[in-house]
């Protein structure tokens, strides 16, 4: 456990509304090592963002209910910390990049000031020094520091996202949670931002949890992957294990859904059906009603994690330890 920066054990989160309970995250286990980049992949409503918000402890209150689980950050269960103690970590040791750069910035504050604010909050330094560091951060993400005094609306989408990244990295966090950081951006700008994140990550040795729905970005950017479905991690392993030997039927379905640049096939092979209703999840395996290999047993028994290869874990009763 010594080299684990973050360890999530049996995390379960529900959202309560007036007339329903939404099972957003159901008993998730996940570890992030120092310097590792882990990709969390899944479709809308799979619970990806809820996981990140649980780590940051910014789940909406009172709708979200933490049912069970522990999140260890450097041997300290952050779910047990007081709000005051948590503020010491949030934004400082653990930082988050949100999906939409258009709404993550304050429209009426200068961008440089917004970065300096974070630095001042977590470090005992003067405003002048904080602003100087904010300038350095801007330069690091490729924005000339003359633009320190401009407002978010004067920046393009890609530049705003770089400001958000600069803000997240301003206190040299040990763990960066990036929730779909490039989804709102055009592909050429996405390539620029990913490239920048990669070099910053290497320079600062930051661990990254990258939440995305794009397997292409995972292949390019991550060391390990966790595939989520209906609030569970159905498969996890290294990028090589998952791409060379995808084993859960849902993972296979995801790959089948992708139009490939190198393929000449005329039809895609998507997963049939729709995501289950999170207020009324199917019994047994959550995926059984969409699974092409489902047997009667799948509707009754909730599958356990099976280790098909060292570190390659599949939640499926048809998976066999050692091989599939």
């Amino acid at each position: 456990m010594a080299d684990n920066l973050l360890e999530i054990r049996n995390l379960a989160v529900e959202y309560h509304t007036d007339d329903a309970q939404i099972y957003a995250v159901n008993n998730i286990n996940l570890t992030v090592r120092q310097g590792e980049t882990i990709g969390i992949v899944g479709e809308t409503g799979a619970g990806k963002t809820t996981i990140a918000k649980s780590i940051m402890r910014i789940l909406p209150n009172p709708q979200a209910k933490l049912i069970s689980g522990e999140i260890f950050y450097r041997d300290e269960n952050i779910l047990k910390l007081s709000e005051k103690e948590m503020r010491r970590i949030r934004g400082n040791k653990i930082a988050m990049i949100f999906q939409d750069p258009m709404t993550a910035l304050n429209p009426i504050e200068k961008v440089g000031f917004q970065i300096a604010e974070t630095i001042k909050l977590h470090n005992k330094i003067s405003s002048v020094e904080a602003e100087k560091r904010a300038c350095d951060m801007l330069e690091m993400v490729g924005i000339p520091m003359e633009r320190f005094s401009e407002y978010p609306h004067q920046f393009s989408g890609g530049m705003k996202q770089r400001v958000v990244i600069a803000m997240a990295l301003a206190c040299n966090p040990e763990l960066l949670l990036a929730d779909e950081p490039t989804t709102a951006l055009d592909v050429t700008i996405q390539a620029q931002v990913l490239d920048m994140m990669r070099s910053l990550k290497e320079k600062l040795n930051t661990s990254v949890v990258l939440i995305t729905h794009d397997l292409g970005i995972v292949a390019d950017f991550c060391d390990t992957v966790a595939v989520t479905y209906a609030g569970e991690i159905v498969e996890r392993g290294t990028v090589e294990q998952l791409f060379d030997n995808p084993s859960h039927p849902y993972t296979l379905g995801l790959f089948g859904s992708l139009p490939r640049l190198d393929s000449t096939e005329r039809r895609l092979k998507p997963v049939r059906g729709l995501m289950p209703d999170p207020t009324n999840l199917p019994s047994g395996c959550r995926f059984h009603d969409r699974c092409p290999d489902a047997t009667d047993k799948c509707a009754e028994v909730a599958p356990e994690d099976v280790e098909v290869a060292p570190g390659h874990i599949v939640k499926c009763i048809n998976a066999v330890g050692g091989a599939v």
Binding site: D186, T188, Q192, H213, V218
Partner: protein, 316 residues
């Protein structure tokens, strides 16, 4: 054979505070019946405006649009009404393009009602057939859009577009708002419909892997102009324009063994307001030279493959 749709030197400018915004600037193409033209490019390149201008949802500034050989650039009101039966659009966002107060069957029936000439029972019958065609179960007939997920809503949008049996549909990012597994279901549906009904599509998207999959010919746009146009496979195997090259190399590929070299662009997109006459990609182009300040024209570099770059031979 006359192409189904032909567009000649189409321009659409918008008057804006700083001057003229050149949204679509001198676009030419032909679309044959039963074929798909893919239009790709980044935000603000004019791809949506192009689709909307062809359909007269915005009026062109200049240029010519021919449909089945007939000039439809300046149609009268009645002509336009009749044309709209032939030419339809599927919008990007299935969340905002449907009337929240109409049930599924009302929404699908609306075009039939507006055209007139059908009895209520016939229309209901037709609506049910359309729902079946696009894969919407009959039990959704009386539900409202907010009760449905994005994939099903997009199916309503497709059913509406199909209801008057058009020959040609502009698909404006029809799958961009959907999750990959749903996206694949919708793409398959659109391919099936094309085969059954002989539809022609203009498929506007920023997603290059989708466009290659569905198109016969692909047009790459940059700031209102076509920089490259080629048959789908040829564009990918034989990319010629420096912008297309950068664009293609930027797509993250879900493959860990063939990592390709990325061409990273520097600088920001130049403003489409009162652009200079030269190549619009000049400021970001790694091959920029003196002669790029001249206006660029589309040249045929191999049969059917057009590129607007004076340096394409050197770059290869």
């Amino acid at each position: 054979m006359t192409p189904l749709l032909e567009v000649r030197d189409l321009k659409k400018y918008f008057q804006n505070k700083g001057g003229m915004l050149h949204a679509v600037d001198g676009v030419n193409f032909k679309l044959e019946a039963g074929q798909t033209l893919g239009v790709v490019g980044e935000s603000g390149c004019g791809k949506t405006t192009l689709g909307r201008t062809v359909l007269h949802l915005t009026e062109p500034t200049s240029g010519q649009i021919l449909f089945e050989g007939k000039d439809i650039t300046n149609p009268s009101k009645q002509e336009l009404r009749r044309l709209r039966e032939q030419m339809q659009i599927i919008f990007q966002d299935p969340f905002s393009s449907l009337n929240p107060r109409m049930t599924v069957s009302e929404a699908i029936m609306e075009p039939l009602l507006l055209r007139g000439g059908m009895k209520k029972a016939e229309m209901l019958d037709e609506t049910r057939k359309l729902m079946e065609t696009v894969g919407l179960a009959e039990r959704f007939e009386n539900t409202y859009p907010h009760e449905l997920d994005g994939g099903r809503r997009q199916r309503i949008g497709i059913a509406r577009a199909l209801s008057l049996k058009p020959k040609f549909i502009v698909c404006d990012e029809p799958v961009s708002a959907l999750d990959v597994s749903i996206q694949a279901q919708i793409i398959n549906l659109m391919l099936d419909l094309q085969e059954e009904m002989g539809l022609s599509y203009i498929f506007v998207t920023h997603d290059l892997s989708v466009v290659k999959y569905i198109s016969n010919v692909i047009m790459v746009m940059y700031l209102g102009q076509v920089v490259e146009m080629a048959p789908a496979d040829d564009l990918f195997s034989n990319t010629s324009h420096p912008y297309s090259k950068a664009l293609l190399s930027s797509i993250p590929v879900p493959d860990i063994h063939n990592k390709k070299e990325r061409i990273l662009l520097h600088g920001e997109i130049t403003s489409p307001v009162n652009p200079k006459p030269g190549c619009r990609f000049l400021a970001r182009c790694p091959y920029a030279a003196e002669e790029c300040n001249r206006p660029q024209t589309l040249e045929e570099c191999s049969p059917g493959h057009f590129v607007a770059c004076c340096k394409y031979t050197e770059i290869k």
